[in-house]
C-alpha cells in the first residue's frame, strides 16, 4: 500500500491472557521511515505488542494497521510487509548461514533471479560474506545476531521489528549493530520498531520512544523532549537514613519528585548544583549520614524511572539471565 498514512497505526489494541491485561487499549502512530523505540520494564507488554503487530498473537479487542493492512483481517499481507528479529535465537543451527538465508528468501517468495544477489547484499551489509558457508553452530552470538538481522532484511520489508536486538552482546558488536540499524534506516528508508531496555540504545537510535508500563503508554516523544520535560536535575544520595532525610528535605528545598531504592535516594529538582550544599547541611543537622552525592543531568534512564517508578535494570535483571541460559543450554547440546 501507499506511503500515505502511517507505517503502523493501532486502534485500542488490547490483549488479555486470562484475567491479566498485557496490553490495554494501545493507540500508537508510527511514521514511515521512523526509528521508533518501545521501552518498558519486563512484563510491560512490549513483546506482546510486537507479537500482535507481527500476527503471531491475535488481539483480544481492537486492531492495528501495518503498512496499510489490518493485522486481524489481512495477516498474510502484513507478514509480507514486515521483517522481524526475535529476542531469542530463531535460526537453524544445523544449516549454513547462506542456507538459512536461502530458506528465508524462498519462504517469502523472493524470485530465484534476484535471490542470490540479495543474499550477497545482506551478507556484505553485516560483514559475514566469508562465513556464509559455515554451519551456524560455529558462529559466535554476535555473528548469529547479525545473520538474523540480515535475514530480516532479505525480503525488503517495509517495517522491521527488532526485539531487543543487542541483548547479551559485547559492546563492540552492539556498537556495530547500531551502525547497521542507522544506516539501514537512512539508506533503505525502512521503518524500524525496536524494543530495548538499554537506554543508551534508545537514546542513540530512536527518533521517538514510547515508555510503556502495565500495557499502556506512559509517555511518547523524542528522547530530547523527554529528557527536557523532566524539568530538572536528579540528585542521587546514598544515605543511612533515607526516610528521615526525605522528610527533612521536603520542607526546605524544592523537590519535584523523590524516589528511594535500596538506600539510594533520587531527588528531582532544579539547579542541582546549588541544591547539593543545602542537602548536605540539612542531612548533617538531622543526623543522617551521607555516604555519597551524585548530580545527574537528566538521562533517558531518569525519564524511565520518572514514568514507571522503577529502575529498568533492577526490573530486568533476572529477566536478563533467562535467554542467556537458553543460549547456553543450546550450546551444550
Amino acid at each position: 500500500m501507499g506511503q500515505n498514512g502511517y507505517a503502523i497505526e493501532t486502534f485500542d489494541l488490547t490483549k488479555k491472557f486470562g484475567g491479566i491485561v498485557a496490553v490495554r487499549k494501545l493507540n500508537l502512530k508510527i511514521e514511515y521511515g521512523e526509528i521508533f523505540g518501545l521501552l518498558g520494564p519486563n512484563g510491560a507488554g512490549k513483546t506482546t505488542t510486537i507479537s500482535m503487530l507481527c500476527t503471531i498473537v491475535n488481539p483480544t479487542s481492537g486492531t492495528a494497521m501495518v503498512n496499510g493492512y489490518d493485522i486481524v483481517k489481512e495477516p498474510h499481507e502484513v507478514r509480507k510487509s514486515i521483517g522481524i528479529v526475535f529476542q531469542d535465537p530463531s535460526i537453524d543451527d544445523r544449516l549454513t548461514g547462506r542456507e538459512n538465508l536461502e530458506f528465508h528468501a524462498m519462504l517469502y517468495g523472493v524470485p530465484k533471479e534476484v535471490r542470490e544477489r540479495r543474499i550477497a547484499d545482506v551478507l556484505r551489509l553485516v560483514e559475514l560474506e566469508d562465513r556464509a558457508n559455515s554451519i551456524m553452530y560455529t558462529y559466535s552470538g554476535g555473528m548469529r545476531r547479525r545473520l538474523e538481522i540480515a535475514r530480516g532484511l532479505l525480503h525488503y520489508p517495509k517495517v522491521l521489528f527488532l526485539d531487543e536486538p543487542t541483548l547479551g552482546l559485547d559492546p563492540q558488536t552492539r556498537e556495530h549493530i547500531w551502525e547497521y540499524i542507522e544506516e539501514l534506516s537512512r539508506r533503505e528508508h525502512i521503518t524500524i520498531v525496536l524494543t530495548t531496555h538499554y537506554m543508551e540504545e534508545a537514546e542513540k537510535l530512536c527518533d521517538r520512544v514510547a515508555i510503556i508500563d502495565y500495557g499502556q503508554i506512559k509517555v511518547l516523544n523524542t528522547p530530547d523532549s523527554l529528557k527536557n520535560s523532566l524539568e530538572g536535575d536528579v540528585i542521587k544520595i546514598r544515605t543511612s537514613n533515607p526516610g528521615l532525610l526525605t522528610a527533612q528535605l521536603s520542607e526546605k528545598v524544592l523537590i519535584l519528585k523523590s524516589q528511594e531504592t535500596n538506600g539510594l535516594l533520587s531527588i528531582t529538582t532544579k539547579n542541582g548544583e546549588t541544591v547539593i550544599p543545602k542537602i548536605v547541611e540539612i542531612a548533617y543537622n538531622a543526623g543522617a549520614n551521607v555516604e555519597s552525592v551524585v548530580l545527574q543531568k537528566p538521562t533517558l534512564n531518569d525519564v524511565f524511572l520518572y514514568y514507571t517508578g522503577r529502575e529498568i535494570r533492577a526490573a530486568e535483571a533476572e529477566h536478563h539471565l533467562a535467554p542467556m541460559a537458553a543460549v547456553r543450554r543450546r550450546r551444550i547440546k
Binding site: I56, P89, S90, I91, D92, R94, E99, H104, L107, Y108
Partner: protein, 256 residues
C-alpha cells in the same frame, strides 16, 4: 506459487538436516539389522527346536519379518521426525516459519513431506539387505515398494506432527514411546502373523495403520504372505494419511 515455493523450502530444510547427519543415517541401520540377524535367526531356530513349524506362509521366519522390519524403521524414524517440531519450537526456529507469509497448512505439508522423504531414505537403505536375508527383490517389486514406503512414512510423520502440536515440552517423549510407537510396532504384525491371533487382539491390530503398511510390503516382497489384497491396504493407507494430515493442519491452525 509462493505457497509451493514455501512448502519446497521447508521440505528442503528437513531433508538437508537429515542427510547431513551421516552418523545417524548409519547408526539407524543398526537396530533393524539386530532384529533381522539376531532376533530373526534366534526365534526362527528356536521355533524349530520345539517341533513347531518354522514356515510362515512358506517362508523362513527371518524372511517373514523382513517387510515388518522395514515398517519398523519407517515407524521409528518418521514419528521422531514428526515430533522434531517440538525442537523447532524449543529452539525458536518455528517462529521464523510462523511469521512468514505462508499458510499453516503449507507449513504442515512441508514438514510432513520433508520428514517422510527422510524416513523413506532410511527405509531405502534397508532394501539391499533383502539379498542377505534371502528375499527375492525384483526390479518390479523394488519399484512398487517405493510409493508404499513413502505413503507409510508420510502418515507416520504426520502422527508425530499432530502429537507435537499438542505436546508442550520435551518430557512427553517417553509417553510417546510407550503409548504410541511400541504399541504400533507390536500390533502391526511386523513380528508375527496376525490372522491366527485371538479375536480380541486381532481387533487392535486392525486399528493400527501400520498393519496395512506391513501387509502391503509383504504382499510386494514375499508375494504369498498377505492378509488383505493390495488395494485394501492401499486404500486404508491413503485414507489414513489424508485424514491425519487434515487433523494435523487443523491442530496447527489454532492460534493462541
Amino acid at each position: 506459487m509462493s505457497e509451493l515455493l514455501g512448502i519446497y523450502s521447508i521440505w528442503l530444510r528437513e531433508v538437508k538436516r537429515y542427510i547431513r547427519e551421516r552418523s545417524r543415517l548409519v547408526s539407524s541401520l543398526i537396530t533393524p539389522l539386530l532384529w533381522l540377524v539376531i532376533f530373526g535367526v534366534g526365534l526362527g531356530s528356536g521355533l524349530g527346536r520345539f517341533g513347531t513349524t518354522t514356515s510362515f506362509y512358506g517362508y523362513r521366519y527371518q524372511i517373514f519379518i523382513f517387510p515388518g522390519i522395514i515398517g519398523q524403521t519407517l515407524l521409528f524414524t518418521a514419528i521422531w521426525l514428526g515430533i522434531s517440531l517440538i525442537w523447532d519450537r524449543e529452539f525458536g526456529f518455528l517462529k521464523e516459519i510462523l511469521v512468514a507469509p505462508i499458510s499453516r497448512t503449507s507449513i504442515i505439508l512441508g514438514k510432513a513431506m520433508g520428514g517422510a522423504t527422510s524416513a523413506f531414505l532410511q527405509g531405502l537403505l534397508l532394501l539391499p539387505f533383502s539379498f542377505v536375508v534371502g528375499v527375492e527383490l525384483t526390479p518390479i517389486s523394488f519399484l512398487v515398494c517405493l510409493p508404499i514406503m513413502f505413503l507409510i512414512a508420510l502418515g507416520l510423520v504426520t502422527i508425530g506432527l499432530s502429537l507435537a502440536a499438542r505436546i508442550e515440552s520435551l518430557e512427553g517423549f517417553n509417553l510417546i514411546m510407550s503409548f504410541v510407537i511400541m504399541p504400533m510396532f507390536f500390533l502391526s504384525g511386523a513380528l508375527f502373523p496376525i490372522d491366527t491371533l485371538p479375536q480380541w487382539l486381532r481387533i487392535f491390530t486392525y486399528l493400527d495403520p501400520l498393519t496395512y503398511g506391513v501387509d502391503a510390503l509383504r504382499f510386494i516382497l514375499l508375494v504369498n504372505a498377505y492378509i488383505f489384497p493390495l488395494y485394501v491396504d492401499f486404500s486404508v493407507l491413503i485414507g489414513f494419511t489424508v485424514s491425519i494430515i487434515l487433523i494435523a493442519a487443523r491442530e496447527f491452525n489454532i492460534k493462541k
